[in-house]
């Protein structure tokens, strides 16, 4: 019975989320009322973008044990991914009420503050987490990431260095250091850090993001698509569709207006630009994926990743 939970934890730590989901499925088949398994499943599903199912599992965990910190952690994480920050905040507050000395909970709260633009509070929360455990590499990384977001590249590098001293195999620290190197324009070193992180955690989103960033810097045409894609992805499906519709409407109105105003040449130019944009966004993902897959070949990602 514990075998599945142990395996799931191990898979989770290695970033093998699909494997963790399958192990937790077995665990829940044996023990349907295992709140911790539901909560962990929620986190794994959230990591694979299955937010609706993740929320369902987190709710199940809370229904079974309303005091379980992992369940609040999961619910807070899922709600943040769903951009329901107010509700996420309520769960994080409850989580910190239940366990005020949990650095992971404090880091999660710092993430929420970062999402909601409460910059000043981030530092205080992370300092509190650091005071609780000065050698926690994840907290060191969180502080470094915060510094990097604010453009403090040198400080971020120092925090990354400190985290790597504590644990040289910490994927987050490698990604942070890679991010610092990318900012400094040291592309080859940044790429190496991303690949090293992926060897440790093959589905590390930050590492994949870093690797994409390195490729984007190296190829301006694909870099443009990548930035557009990241921007659209951050909007979420509903808003991304709205943005596309607005873009299409602007293009159509401009074309019709050009024709009405007796400027057929302008209409032609607009049509060509729109066609180029459509072709670029159509071909861009396939090209980018191909380049990235080539880059990831040494990491040997399994089909499940």
């Amino acid at each position: 019975m514990d075998h599945w939970m142990q395996l799931a934890r191990q898979q989770f730590a290695q970033g093998h989320l699909y494997g963790a989901i399958e192990s937790l499925r077995h665990q829940l088949a044996d023990e349907p009322e295992d709140a911790a398994a539901h909560a962990m499943l929620a986190l794994a599903l959230c990591g694979t973008h299955r937010l609706h199912a993740a929320a369902h599992e987190a709710r199940a965990a809370l229904a079974l044990d309303a005091e379980l910190t992992l369940a609040h952690h999961a619910m807070g994480t899922v709600l943040m991914a769903m951009r329901r920050f107010k509700e996420a905040g309520e769960h994080l507050d409850r989580l910190l009420e239940l366990d005020p000395d949990d650095p992971a909970a404090l880091r999660l709260q710092a993430t929420l503050y970062a999402y909601t633009g409460r910059e000043r509070e981030i530092e205080a929360v992370l300092k509190r987490a650091l005071a609780l455990d000065p050698d926690d590499p994840l907290t060191l990384c969180a502080i470094g990431e915060h510094a990097l977001r604010r453009g403090q590249v040198r400080e971020a590098g120092e925090w990354a260095h400190a985290a790597l001293e504590v644990d040289p195999g910490q994927a987050d620290a490698l990604v942070l250091m890679g991010g610092v190197l990318l900012r400094k324009g040291e592309l080859a070193e940044a790429r190496e850090h991303a690949l090293q992180a992926l060897r440790i955690d093959a589905s590390h989103r930050g590492a994949l993001f870093l690797l994409s960033g390195v490729k984007a810097r190296g190829n301006p045409l694909l870099g443009l698509w990548w930035r557009y894609s990241v921007w659209m992805g951050a909007l979420g499906a509903r808003r991304a569709i709205l943005v596309l519709l607005v873009m299409y409407a602007v293009y159509r109105v401009a074309t019709l207006f050009a024709a009405d105003a007796g400027h057929p040449d302008l209409g032609l130019v607009l049509n060509v630009v729109w066609l180029a944009f459509a072709a670029y966004t159509w071909i861009g993902p396939a090209l980018f994926q191909r380049i990235l897959n080539k880059e990831l070949a040494p990491v040997r990602l399994g089909k499940d990743f």
Partner: protein, 157 residues
């Protein structure tokens, strides 16, 4: 699907129709090349073929899409009768219908893509929809010509 008893809520449960499941990209392409008359019903059939957990929602969107076209067409007609939209501005106003169709199609695609990803992950059979898209593209003018009504053209194109 998995042999384990625990089922996660968003996992598709394909039935007999699974033999005709396609990537939702094909119905989207059919919308672009053939029109609504084949694309939206295809999205609905595909939702059931994939055993999509959101199939009822997807069907609802397709139905709401058609109802919406009626509503927008009547609203435009009324605005024209009242003189709010002049004859020279009709082409601008009718863009609302195009945007509506695009919005519903993209939303159906987005919604169905999630189920499709899981369906594929669990080894579900996937057919190519190319033949249907080609047929739809060739049949488009014939379908549009079935009636000279402007509303018909709005509904099927």
């Amino acid at each position: 699907m998995s042999g384990a008893a625990y089922r996660i809520i968003d996992e598709p449960q394909p039935g007999a129709l699974a033999q005709i499941a396609v990537n939702p990209f094909w119905p989207l392409l059919a919308f672009m090349l053939g029109g609504l008359w084949c694309a939206w019903p295809w999205f609905v059939i595909n939702a059931f073929a994939l055993g999509s957990p959101t199939r009822v929602r997807e069907t609802g969107f397709a139905v709401a899409g058609f109802v919406g076209i009626f509503a927008i067409a009547f609203l435009m007609g009324w605005l024209m009768l009242k003189g709010v939209v002049g004859a020279d501005r009709v082409k601008y106003a009718m863009m609302v219908v195009t945007l509506w169709k695009l919005g519903i199609s993209y939303w159906l695609y987005e919604l169905q893509s999630r189920s499709f990803g899981l369906y594929q992950y669990f080894g579900g059979v996937v057919r190519s929809g190319l033949a249907v898209v080609v047929l739809a593209a060739f049949a488009k003018s014939g379908v549009l010509g079935l009636s000279s009504s402007g509303l018909w053209k709005l509904l099927v194109s």
